[in-house]
C-alpha cells in the first residue's frame, strides 16, 4: 500500500494526474454543478431561498403534474411491453431454431436505431394516424379504424418500434449464454416444454432481459422530442420544457420534474447494472452455449418468415413514411401523397444548409472531445494507480442518468448570467454550450468503447516499451493509442452519429437559428404551413448520417476483431 501511495505522486504519474484533474474539473463544471444546481433549486423556496419541500408539495398537489407523472410511467412501461412483444418472437426464432433468416433479424435490429424517434413520429402519424394511410384504407374497405396513434398510444408505438432492438439484443444474448448442460440436465430429470421454460430458461434469461428493459424504460421516460412532435404535453419531459420555456427559468416546477426524472434514471440504471453484475457478455462460448436448436418444418418456416416480414414492415414504416413525405407534394387526407418532387431537397440545400454544417461542426468537435476524454479516462482508470481514479469512471458514466432536458435546464440556470470573456455573451447562449452538452451526453458510450479497447491491449507491450527507454507519454502515443485505434474510432463514429441527432438538450439551449443543428432544424421545419416536405428531407439526411456512421462503426469493429484473431497478440508490436 505504501509503495502505491508513493507512486501516486511520482514524476511518472504526474502527467496522468494532471490530465485526471483537468478531466475531473470539466466533469465538475459541466455535469456535477449544473445537475446539482437543478436539484438544489427544486428544494429551494423561490421567494426566500431557504430549504423547503413546498415545491414538491405543489407538484404532487397539482393534478396535471400527477397525471403527467403517471402518463410518463405508463408510456415507458407500455413501451417496454410492446417492444418485448416485438422482440420475443425474433429472439425465439434465432435461438431455438436453425433459422436461415437470422441475418434479416440482425438487420431488423439496427434499422430502428438509425432514425431518432421524434423524426419517425411525424411519418408514423401520417401512416397510422386517425386519418392516416392505414386507417383510411381500413375505413374504406372494412369500415372501422384502429386508434394506433390516439393520445398516448402514438408515443408508445413510436418508442416501441424504435427501442425494441435493445430488448432483442439483450434477450438474444441472454438466451445464447444459457449453458446447454443446464437444459440437458433438466430434460434428463424429466422436465419438458413449459416447465423447462418456467424453471430453467426464464430465470436464466431474466437478468439479461431486465437489463435491456430497464434501459428502454428510462430512455422512453426521459424522451422529450417524441411527445413534443406528437403534441402530447401531459408527460413529465414536455411539461418541464414547457414550464421553463413559457414561464421562465425561475419556475420551480421545471426543476422538480428534473429531480424526478434524474431519480428514476438512477433507479433504472442501478437495476440494469445489478442485473448484469457478474455476467460477461463479451465472449460467447462457441459450440456449446445456448439452448438446443432444431430445424424448422416447412410450414413453420413459412410462419416464421411471415412474422419476421410483418415486423420488418412495422419497423420500416417510419422510414417509408418519411421518404414519401420528403418526396411528396401534398399529402392531405390521402393514402399516399398527391404527387412527387425533388423540390424539398432543393429547398433544404438552399436554405437549410447551415443546419447540416452546424451539425458536422458540433458533432465533430463533440466526438473528438469524447474520444480524447474517454481514452484518457480509460488509461487513467486501467493503467495507473492514482488515488480516486474510479470516480472519474463513475462521474463520466453518471451522465447516462441525466436526461437531456435536465442537462439543458441545468446549463441555462447555471450559465445564463456568466459571460464568456472575449465574446461577451452569456455562456448559456453561445453555441459552444451545445457542443459541451453533446460531449457530456455521449461520453459514457465512448468511454465504454475505449475501456473495452484498452482491456484488449496487453500491459506487457507497454512494459516492453518502457524497458527499451520510452517515456510514459511516448508509450501511450506510440503503443497504446494505436492498438486502441479500433475502439477509439468506433467510439468516435458512434458519438458523432448519435450527437448529430440529439434533440432534448439542444432544444433548450439553442438561442439563435443560425446556431441550430440538424435535430433542431427538423423540429423547426416540421412546423411550416407550406408543408412538411423540407422537414422530412432534413430527417432523411439525418437518418443517412446516423446510418452511414453506424455502418462504418460496425465495419471498423469487425475489422479490428478479425485482425486481433488473425495474429497472435505478442507478435504485433505496432503494425496494423
Amino acid at each position: 500500500m505504501k509503495a502505491s501511495t508513493l507512486t501516486a505522486f511520482s514524476s511518472v504519474e504526474r502527467g496522468p494526474a494532471i490530465a485526471g484533474l483537468m478531466i475531473a474539473f470539466f466533469l465538475l463544471l459541466f455535469l456535477i454543478v449544473p445537475v446539482g444546481q437543478v436539484i438544489f433549486v427544486a428544494f429551494q423556496d423561490p421567494n426566500t431561498g431557504s430549504f423547503t419541500l413546498i415545491n414538491f408539495a405543489d407538484f404532487f398537489g397539482n393534478s396535471l403534474f400527477v397525471e403527467s407523472f403517471f402518463n410518463s410511467f405508463y408510456v415507458a412501461s407500455m413501451s417496454v411491453i410492446v417492444a418485448s412483444i416485438i422482440a420475443m418472437p425474433l429472439a425465439y426464432f434465432t435461438t431455438r431454431f436453425n433459422f436461415s433468416g437470422a441475418l434479416l433479424i440482425q438487420t431488423l435490429g439496427i434499422i430502428p436505431l438509425i432514425m431518432p424517434p421524434f423524426v419517425g413520429a411525424v411519418a408514423m402519424q401520417l401512416l397510422f394516424g386517425a386519418n392516416g394511410s392505414i386507417n383510411l384504407l381500413l375505413e374504406e374497405h372494412l369500415g372501422f379504424t384502429i386508434p394506433f396513434m390516439e393520445g398516448l398510444n402514438g408515443v408508445i408505438l413510436v418508442e416501441s418500434v424504435h427501442y425494441f432492438p435493445f430488448i432483442l439484443i439483450n434477450l438474444s444474448a441472454a438466451l445464447n449464454n444459457i449453458d446447454r448442460a443446464m437444459e440437458e440436465s433438466a430434460q434428463n430429470l424429466g422436465a419438458h416444454g413449459t416447465r423447462l421454460f418456467r424453471r430453467i430458461v426464464f430465470p436464466l434469461a431474466m437478468p439479461g432481459y431486465v437489463a435491456g428493459a430497464a434501459l428502454v424504460f428510462i430512455k422512453v421516460f426521459d424522451d422529450l422530442g417524441t411527445p413534443l412532435l406528437l403534441n402530447i404535453n401531459n408527460m413529465l419531459a414536455p411539461q418541464a420544457y414547457l414550464r421553463i420555456s413559457s414561464i421562465g427559468i425561475a419556475d420551480p416546477m421545471g426543476y422538480v420534474i428534473s429531480v424526478i426524472l434524474v431519480g428514476f434514471s438512477l433507479l433504472s440504471l442501478w437495476i440494469s447494472l445489478l442485473a448484469l453484475k457478474d455476467k460477461d457478455y463479451a465472449t460467447v462460448q462457441k459450440g456449446g452455449g445456448g439452448l438446443m436448436r432444431r430445424d424448422l418444418r416447412t410450414w413453420e418456416k413459412v410462419g416464421c418468415y411471415g412474422v419476421v416480414i410483418l415486423i420488418l414492415l412495422l419497423v420500416l414504416s417510419p422510414h417509408i413514411g418519411l421518404t414519401l413525405l420528403s418526396f411528396g407534394t401534398v399529402w392531405s387526407f390521402a393514402v399516399i401523397p398527391d404527387g412527387f418532387t425533388f423540390d424539398h431537397y432543393t429547398t433544404v440545400f438552399d436554405t437549410a444548409s447551415q443546419y447540416i454544417t452546424n451539425t458536422l461542426l458540433y458533432a465533430g468537435i463533440a466526438a473528438l472531445l469524447d474520444v480524447i476524454l474517454a481514452t484518457s479516462i480509460a488509461y487513467i482508470v486501467w493503467r495507473t494507480k492514482l488515488v480516486g481514479r474510479k470516480w472519474l469512471d463513475y462521474g463520466a458514466t453518471a451522465a447516462l442518468a441525466v436526461p437531456g432536458v435536465v442537462l439543458g435546464i441545468g446549463y441555462l440556470r447555471t450559465y445564463h448570467s456568466f459571460d464568456v470573456p472575449i465574446i461577451n455573451e452569456p455562456l448559456a447562449s453561445w453555441w459552444v454550450i451545445i457542443v459541451i452538452a453533446m460531449t457530456i451526453r455521449r461520453l459514457p458510450y465512448a468511454l465504454r468503447a475505449c475501456i473495452a479497447a484498452i482491456q484488449q491491449v496487453s500491459v506487457m507491450l507497454e512494459e516492453a516499451a518502457e524497458n527499451l527507454g520510452a517515456t510514459k507519454g511516448r508509450t501511450v502515443w506510440r503503443i497504446v493509442v494505436p492498438l486502441m485505434s479500433g475502439g477509439i474510432l468506433a467510439g468516435f463514429v458512434t458519438s458523432f452519429a448519435t450527437a448529430s441527432v440529439e434533440l432534448s438538450a439542444t432544444i433548450m439551449l439553442v438561442a439563435k437559428d443560425s446556431d441550430a443543428p440538424l435535430a433542431f432544424g427538423i423540429y423547426e421545419f416540421m412546423q411550416s404551413t407550406s408543408g412538411r416536405g423540407p422537414g422530412a428531407a432534413l430527417g432523411i439526411i439525418a437518418v443517412l448520417f446516423v446510418g452511414v456512421g453506424t455502418y462504418f462503426s460496425h465495419v471498423i469493429i469487425e475489422r479490428s476483431k478479425k485482425l486481433r484473431e488473425a495474429k497472435a497478440i505478442v507478435a504485433e508490436g505496432g503494425t496494423t
Binding site: 396535471l64 420555456s245 412546423q527 404551413t529 408543408g531
Partner: protein
C-alpha cells in the same frame, strides 16, 4: 442668447440632415415568433439590400420571447421584437423595454378596419394586418359529409364533435388574441361559454399555433381556428383547404418594435423602414407568407380572391379590440384557458358530448325536467372561477407573473395554489355536468 440657441439647434439639424448614408453593417438580432417561411424571406431580401448587415433570428414563441427580453434586459443582446400580438408589445412597453421610433416611409394609413395600425405612443409599428378565422380541410369534410364551418357558433354544433382543433393562448400570441376577441365581442360570461362549447368539440389543443394548420393540412382533423395567414398560405401552397373570417372577428396589426438599449439601433430602424416600404409590403404576398399588407397600394399586386380590408369594410368591423383591457388581464386569460380547457380537455369533451347527446334526444319533445337538468349541466360547464372585474385587477394578475420588477407589486397567493383550486372546481363541475346530462338523457 436666444439666437445662439436657435443657431445651435439649426446647426444640429442641418448636420444631421447632411450625414452621408454610410453603409449599414454589423449584426441585427431579432426576437421573433414567426415561422421560417416568413423570417427567411425577409432576412434574404434585407441582406440583399444591405449586404453589410448579418440578420440573426432568435425564434421564440410570443410568451417565451417576452420572458427572454424581460430576463436579459440588464445585458440586452436583442435589437428588435417582431411578433403578431399587440398585447405582447403592450406588456413590453409597460415593462419599459421598447424605444420610440418615427417611421419615415409613407403610404401607410392611420387605421385598418377600426384599429390603429401603429401604437399611438409610437413604440411599435404595424406592418401587416391579421384577422382570425376558421380553416378546414375540404377532403376531410367531404369524407365525413360535413359542411364547412363559417361562424364560431357553427363549431359548437354536435356534428363537429372531435373534428376541430386550436392552440392555447399561453402558447400562441395569435391564439391569445383570438380568445380575447371573442371575449370582448361577446362579453365575459357568454364569451367563455362559447369557448367551452367550441372546445368541447376539439380533437386536440396543439402545442404551438402551427400545430393547427398542420393538423388541418394533413387531414388529422377537419377544422381549425387559426390566424388568417395560416389558412391563406396553406391554400396557396396547394393544400386542399379553405378559410373564412367569421363575423365576430377583428383585424389587428402584427407588429415590430425596437428594443431598449439595442446593440444595433441603426440597422433596426432600417429594417422597419424596409418592411414598410413598397418592396417589403409586396413580400407579404408571397404564397408562403400571405399576410394582409398595411399599404393599400400593395393590394393591386395581390391575387384575385385575396381579402382586402381597405376595400371590404366588413372584415373585422364587429369588434373594436381594446388593447388596454387585453394587456391588463393577459396572464389570467392564459392560466384560465389552460386550467379550464387545455389540461382538462378530456373531461370537458365528455361533459359537452353528454349535453349534446341529451339535447339531441330532447329535440322535438317537451320535458321540463330534462330541459332543466340540461340547462344546469350547461351552467356548470360554463362556470368561470373568476369574474371579469377580478381578472383585470392588477394585484391578481401579478400573481401569475414570475418576475416582479417593482417593489410595489403585491402578491397575495401563489400561482400553483390558485391554479390548483380552479382545477378542482372545473373537474368537479365537468363531472357533475356529465352526470346531470346523462340523467337527462335517460329520462327521454
Amino acid at each position: 442668447m436666444k439666437r445662439a440657441h436657435v443657431l445651435g439647434a439649426a446647426a444640429i439639424v442641418l448636420s444631421a440632415a447632411s450625414i452621408p448614408t454610410y453603409a449599414l453593417s454589423g449584426k441585427l438580432t431579432i426576437v421573433t415568433s414567426y415561422p421560417t417561411d416568413t423570417t427567411a424571406t425577409f432576412e434574404k431580401a434585407f441582406e440583399k439590400k444591405y449586404p453589410g448587415v448579418d440578420v440573426e433570428m432568435l425564434k421564440k414563441k410570443t410568451t417565451a420571447g417576452i420572458k427572454y427580453l424581460q430576463e436579459t434586459s440588464d445585458n440586452n443582446q436583442a435589437d428588435m421584437f417582431w411578433a403578431s400580438a399587440p398585447d405582447a408589445f403592450e406588456v413590453l412597453k409597460g415593462d419599459d423595454l421598447l424605444v420610440k421610433y418615427d417611421v419615415k416611409v409613407g403610404g401607410i394609413p392611420e387605421k385598418v378596419g377600426s384599429f390603429p395600425i401603429n401604437d399611438p405612443e409610437g413604440y411599435y409599428k404595424g406592418f401587416a394586418a391579421s384577422g382570425y378565422g376558421i380553416m378546414w380541410n375540404e377532403r376531410y369534410l367531404k369524407a365525413k359529409k360535413l359542411p364547412p364551418p363559417m361562424e364560431w357558433a357553427d363549431l359548437k354544433k354536435p356534428i363537429y364533435h372531435g373534428h376541430s382543433g386550436m392552440s392555447a393562448p399561453s402558447r400562441s400570441g395569435t391564439t391569445h388574441l383570438t380568445v380575447e376577441t371573442v371575449l370582448q365581442g361577446m362579453g365575459w360570461q357568454d364569451g367563455w361559454a362559447e369557448w367551452k362549447e367550441i372546445a368541447g368539440n376539439f380533437k386536440t389543443v396543439t402545442e404551438r399555433s402551427f400545430g393547427v394548420p398542420d393538423g388541418v393540412n394533413s387531414g388529422s382533423f377537419g377544422a381549425g381556428i387559426v390566424i388568417d395567414f395560416f389558412g391563406l398560405s396553406s391554400q396557396a401552397s396547394g393544400f386542399p383547404v379553405g378559410f373564412n373570417y367569421p363575423k365576430v372577428t377583428t383585424l389587428v396589426p402584427a407588429n415590430i418594435a425596437i428594443v431598449k438599449n439595442a446593440p444595433n439601433a441603426e440597422a433596426a430602424a432600417a429594417f422597419i423602414e424596409f418592411i414598410l416600404s413598397t418592396e417589403g409590403q409586396e413580400l407579404l404576398l408571397d404564397p408562403k407568407i400571405r399576410r394582409l399588407p398595411v399599404n393599400p397600394a400593395t393590394y393591386a399586386k395581390a391575387p384575385k380572391d385575396f381579402p382586402n380590408p381597405f376595400k371590404d369594410k366588413t372584415i373585422g368591423a364587429a369588434v373594436k379590440f381594446d388593447l388596454a383591457l387585453s394587456k391588463g388581464r393577459y396572464n389570467v386569460i392564459n392560466s384560465l384557458f389552460d386550467v379550464m380547457i387545455t389540461y382538462r380537455l378530456n373531461e370537458l369533451r365528455g361533459a359537452v358530448k353528454a349535453i349534446q347527446d341529451a339535447e339531441a334526444k330532447l329535440a322535438g319533445k317537451t320535458n321540463a325536467d330534462a330541459a332543466k337538468l340540461i340547462a344546469e349541466a350547461r351552467a356548470l360547464v360554463n362556470e368561470v372561477p373568476v369574474t371579469e372585474a377580478q381578472a383585470s385587477e392588477s394585484d391578481f394578475n401579478n400573481i401569475f407573473k414570475k418576475k416582479r420588477k417593482k417593489a410595489t407589486t403585491k402578491v397575495t397567493g401563489r400561482q400553483a395554489e390558485i391554479e390548483s383550486e380552479w382545477d378542482s372546481m372545473v373537474v368537479a363541475n365537468y363531472a357533475k355536468a356529465k352526470e346531470l346530462a346523462d340523467k337527462a338523457a335517460s329520462m327521454l
